[in-house]
């Protein structure tokens, strides 16, 4: 019977808040059904327990929904599944970053990478982008405080993403030579 009082905290009525997100997410063609909401709440419990964390007052789940619902990579078919993964990843990296980063900074970083370098791939977000960023934070990097988590990844990215010179060269090869 481990930490009953902690589990008690996690019994907050979250469903109503998730229900409210539907009215906003609808404009992007995304809606959570009642069973999806139940599933998300139950996954939240599981995720918090696995990561040995406890939520006070407001849960992060509605914030994740508001942050990601306008994503180009979310649709009604993958909506619940991706939200579940994002929630797991969020708690995992709060721990990995030793709680140095705020909720908003982490969400901004996650959303930006999800939309850009990850092209909606949560595995890449978790295993590469966040892993490298967490490593930098553990080593004492604090730049995200100024940037609020935006535009951070390029300095840690080990993959050369875009080379304008090479692009111009290829264009010339294809059309002018």
């Amino acid at each position: 019977m481990e930490k009953n009082w902690m589990e008690l905290l996690q019994q907050k009525d979250l469903l109503e808040k998730i229900r409210q997100t539907n009215s906003y997410a609808e404009q992007f063609g995304l809606t959570l059904k009642e069973e999806d909401m139940q599933m998300l709440v139950s996954e939240r419990q599981h995720s918090l327990k696995e990561q040995r964390r406890v939520e006070f007052g407001q849960s992060i789940l509605p914030k994740i929904i508001y942050e990601f619902c306008d994503s180009a990579y979310l649709n009604q078919n993958n909506y619940t599944e991706v939200l579940t993964r994002l929630q797991d990843i969020f708690f995992l990296y709060k721990n990995e970053m030793m709680d140095e980063i705020s909720d908003d900074e982490l969400l901004h970083f996650m959303k930006e990478q999800f939309e850009t370098v990850c092209y909606g791939d949560t595995e890449y977000l978790e295993g590469t982008c966040l892993s490298q960023f967490a490593q930098a934070i553990r080593a004492g990097y604090e730049g995200y405080r100024k940037s609020d988590g935006y535009g951070e990844y390029t300095q840690f990215d080990e993959v050369k993403r875009w080379d304008p010179e090479l692009y111009q060269e290829v264009l010339k090869d294809l059309f002018w030579r």
Binding site: K3, M6, L8, Q11, F56, N95, D99
Partner: protein, 288 residues
């Protein structure tokens, strides 16, 4: 929910009464920047709340004493105030001791009191971790620490050092150093209580009626001490020592009840040691 009915035995408050206090403190600590925290941090904060509530209960004139139970949030606030006041009192007491403080060359006493205690005040976190003692308090004072922690432990420790310094200040530095040196040539490095070593020597001298300058026991003294052999003798010796201490504190320390109570702590141990050695050849080594 069944767990709502659980009560924290130590604070007397139900978990459902403590949780809103915890949530409020957690929000304050995270500065609204984080909606979650690790179990370990949450446990630490709950520990802080329970510690403060206990402090409030311990503080004089609190509502529990008058039979009226205050809400947990109010008790926590009172406790925070009590902790703050105790910290201030302890700092004040520490500064009273420091100018005249004498470590008699004992490295452990110097390191713990002169170097360690200021570090405690530097790092002590009254808000989120008041239960953390931070220091290991290596120099052993005569009073056992028991279960106290945080500022309670430090406050008791500083009070104990205050009483020890008060007792020792009545003896010349040369005498104290001679006693320590004769007890062990390695006295500077030993992790042992200086006051207890001196107290043992002083009590023995008072029992046999020898001055602090005399280093050898006479035949008459030895015969006198053999009376204290065995269980009965030991009890008699302890009573005699307690009587001597009472007179001594009356005469030289303004009848301080705190000092008397403190000096009485090792008396049964001292009596047992002297009683065991009273009949044998070691008797000549009893005086330092």
């Amino acid at each position: 929910m069944e767990m709502n009915k659980e009560t924290d035995d130590q604070s007397g408050y139900k978990m459902e009464e403590l949780l809103p206090v915890l949530a409020e403190l957690a929000e304050k600590v995270s500065g609204c920047e984080s909606s979650s925290m690790p179990y370990e941090k949450a446990e630490q904060l709950m520990g802080a709340i329970l510690y403060c509530i206990r402090e409030a209960e311990g503080a004089a004139g609190n509502a529990l004493i008058t039979g009226e139970k205050l809400p947990a949030a109010e008790m926590y606030k009172l406790g925070c105030k009590a902790v703050k006041e105790k910290v201030e009192r302890t700092i004040q007491r520490y500064h009273e001791i420091l100018p005249e403080f004498e470590d008699y060359g004992n490295r452990c006493l110097h390191d713990t009191f002169v170097l360690g205690i200021p570090e405690f005040f530097k790092w002590y976190d009254m808000q989120t971790n008041p239960q953390n003692t931070i220091l290991t308090l290596d120099y052993p004072v005569m009073r056992e620490r028991g279960k106290s922690c945080g500022i309670d432990a430090i406050s008791e420790y500083v009070d104990a050092i205050y009483l020890e310094q008060l007792f020792l200040s009545d003896f010349s530095r040369e005498y104290v150093l001679r006693v320590l040196r004769q007890q062990s040539s390695d006295y500077r490095e030993l992790i042992q209580n200086v006051t207890e070593v001196v107290l043992e020597d002083v009590l023995l001298r008072l029992i046999v009626g020898r001055s602090l300058d005399q280093s050898e026991l006479t035949q008459e003294d030895r015969e006198q001490l053999t009376r204290y052999q065995g269980a009965e003798g030991r009890k008699k010796l302890q009573n005699t020592m307690e009587g001597i201490l009472e007179k001594m504190t009356d005469q030289y320390y303004g009848a301080s009840p705190d000092l008397l109570a403190y000096l009485n702590i090792p008396v049964s141990g001292i009596a047992a040691r002297i009683s065991c050695r009273a009949g044998d050849a070691e008797i000549k080594d009893l005086l330092y």
